[in-house]
């Protein structure tokens, strides 16, 4: 923002315009996250021909189709497995996975922890809207306690996953979280995640306005965007005296960064050592 950039970001350069308007509901946070992603891609000067977007199933899975790149809409929970094969076979591609809370943490949980463990150079963007929107709003591993979904008629009683802690514990090289409301910060986080050599896990706090929002009386889209984000504060707010602005249990920004060896590099090193012997 403070620096003058070379070429201005034009979102139309990065989308499949003829498919618009996209199929997502009014106010859906996924669109905002998609802009931040494309903006980051622009600022990183990534060649669209070399960009591979791999997505799973659900609302998040549909985001990829709107991006003008090599896009792969795979199976439920498994985009990370496809991405692993793709990246290993084609290290020249910039592989970005777009997944959701159900896709990534429930059905695809196993793949997430192992992708983190391996630390292959993939960026995993998890759009967390706390529900299975596409199937009508069922409970997901990140549904806030006591919230209503079509499968928790008495309110959710299951504990909630902290995806970022999970990813960090499993060994991801880069872990971060941001809300869609802070679009420039989100863009900058994604930019850092993509640039990080190794596995980057980025949780985007998105909104399911039409299904989850209505079910829980979270207000109209704008209200929901504001109120649902009230729990999320950047770490730097910790210094502020005004209690309203203090971080609660959910922090945003870059949460973890390590220089663990990247998988493909480590593999090549080990193989070279053996084959050359």
């Amino acid at each position: 923002m403070l620096n003058k950039t070379k070429a201005a970001f034009e979102i139309r350069d990065y989308i499949r315009e003829d498919l618009f308007p996209h199929f997502m509901c009014p106010g859906c946070g996924h669109g905002i996250a998609m802009r931040a992603l494309l903006w980051a891609i622009h600022d990183l000067n990534i060649d669209k021909d070399k960009l591979a977007i791999v997505s799973g199933i659900g609302c998040s899975g549909r985001v990829g189709a709107y991006i003008d790149a090599n896009t792969f809409h795979t199976t439920h929970g498994r985009p990370l497995t496809f991405a692993t094969g793709l990246k290993l076979a084609r290290p020249d591609l910039q592989v970005i996975v777009i997944t959701g809370d159900g896709d990534c943490l429930a059905i695809g949980g196993n793949h997430l922890i192992h992708a983190c463990r391996r630390n292959l150079d993939i960026t995993c963007l998890m759009l967390n809207n706390e529900t299975y929107g596409m199937t009508g709003g069922q409970v997901s591993p990140t549904t806030t306690r006591d919230r209503y979904t079509t499968t928790t008629p008495e309110g959710n009683y299951e504990p909630v996953f902290d995806a970022c802690e999970l990813a960090q514990g499993a060994g991801a090289g880069f872990v971060g979280r941001e809300i869609t409301l802070q679009t420039p910060s989100l863009k900058s986080l994604i930019q850092q995640g993509i640039a990080h050599p190794g596995f980057s896990f980025l949780e985007v706090i998105s909104d399911c306005t039409e299904v989850y929002g209505r079910k829980n009386d979270l207000g109209e889209s704008p209200q929901m965007v504001l109120s649902q984000k009230s729990e999320f504060r950047s770490d730097s707010y910790g210094m502020i005296a005004d209690e309203v602005f203090q971080p609660r249990n959910v922090k945003t920004g870059v949460l973890h960064k390590s220089d663990r060896p990247e998988y493909a590099e480590a593999y090549q090193q080990r193989i070279t050592d053996r084959v050359k012997k």
Binding site: G31, P184, P222
Partner: protein
């Protein structure tokens, strides 16, 4: 310390001893620009000159883009750390709109106004959210300000720094301009600046300081104003290109899904949903080009064109 440096210091002390009341410098800008650094340089300089200094700063929110200001008061004795309205001898603005916002603090007639002409719209400066409330981003042009404030300097510090090939030293360029409004020896300024900048960049910062100082000393407000007025009359006669200084919001109606996010989040409240529930620009003159609507539109139905984009 060399004798050369000491000599002008004494001279400066003598001069300033005549000043009975404290001198007030108000430095304003937005987060990330370097307001604090600039005021630290000034405060240290004053201290080294033997004055009592009070510097109080407000960081706003810890995010880049939030408003930041710093009061620097120095003199024989200084009691209050803050500058009352209408009593700033110098108002140094690192960002144009912030400069405008603090204008009431400037001492009438004798006050000096130095502003960087770069515009940074604070994205989350949602002040008064009610319709009809005072606009958040100022609409005053350079011309208006210069014709009302006698000692006014509107400088493109970033541009000057860029010409020198030292973009990062834009604030030092501003310090150079500031030095012409205060009675300190340039060499004293330079020695303090050298304390604050990384060792490798001392030389480039000194050059930036000189460039800023030279620019201010050579600044002729009357002819600048004439130039601006001439350009305007040429533009009115269609003989010069009109520089659009207002952002334009482009709306792709077919993509709008009436979610209302842009309407509710616009800091200036310039957007409405029309009777077809499609977003519409109702008050273009209030738009500051902050891009909030563009960023938060989940359907990419809004694109903001800033003045420089339009002129291109």
């Amino acid at each position: 310390m060399t004798t050369a440096a000491i000599k002008p210091l004494k001279k400066a002390q003598k001069q300033t001893q005549k000043v009975q009341r404290p001198r007030n410098v108000l430095i304003v800008g937005v987060g990330g620009q370097g307001v604090i650094m600039v005021s630290k340089v000034l405060a240290t300089l004053c201290q080294k000159q033997g004055f009592e200094v009070k510097q109080s700063e407000v960081h706003g929110m810890a995010k880049r883009g939030g408003a930041v200001f710093s009061h620097v008061r120095f003199g024989e004795t200084v009691y209050s750390p803050t500058i009352p309205e209408g009593e700033a001898d110098v108002l140094l603005a690192l960002e144009w709109a912030e400069g405008m916002r603090w204008m009431p603090y400037l001492r009438q007639q004798s006050g000096t106004f130095i502003a960087d002409t770069q515009h940074i719209v604070p994205p989350f400066a949602c002040r008064n959210r009610t319709r009809g409330a005072q606009s958040g981003y100022v609409s005053e042009t350079i011309e208006t300000v210069m014709s009302h404030v006698d000692n006014s300097f509107a400088m493109d510090a970033m541009g000057i720094a860029e010409q020198l090939g030292v973009v990062k030293a834009a604030n030092t360029v501003l310090l150079g301009a500031l030095s012409t409004a205060l009675d300190f020896d340039p060499e004293a300024w330079k020695s303090v600046i050298s304390m604050f900048v990384p060792e490798k960049t001392i030389e480039t910062n000194i050059r930036a300081f000189d460039a800023g100082r030279d620019w201010a000393l050579g600044f002729d407000r009357e002819s600048e104003l004439r130039n601006l007025t001439d350009t305007h009359s040429l533009q009115q006669e269609g003989l010069a290109e009109v520089k659009v200084d207002r952002s334009i919001v482009e709306i792709t109606e077919e993509w709008c899904k009436s979610c209302d996010i842009c309407v509710k989040f616009c800091p200036e409240r310039c957007l409405v949903l029309n009777d077809k529930l499609i977003v519409e620009m109702a008050e273009p003159e209030r738009c500051t080009g902050c891009r909030m609507c563009e960023w938060l539109c989940p359907d990419f139905a809004i694109a903001v064109r800033t003045p420089d984009q339009i002129s291109q």
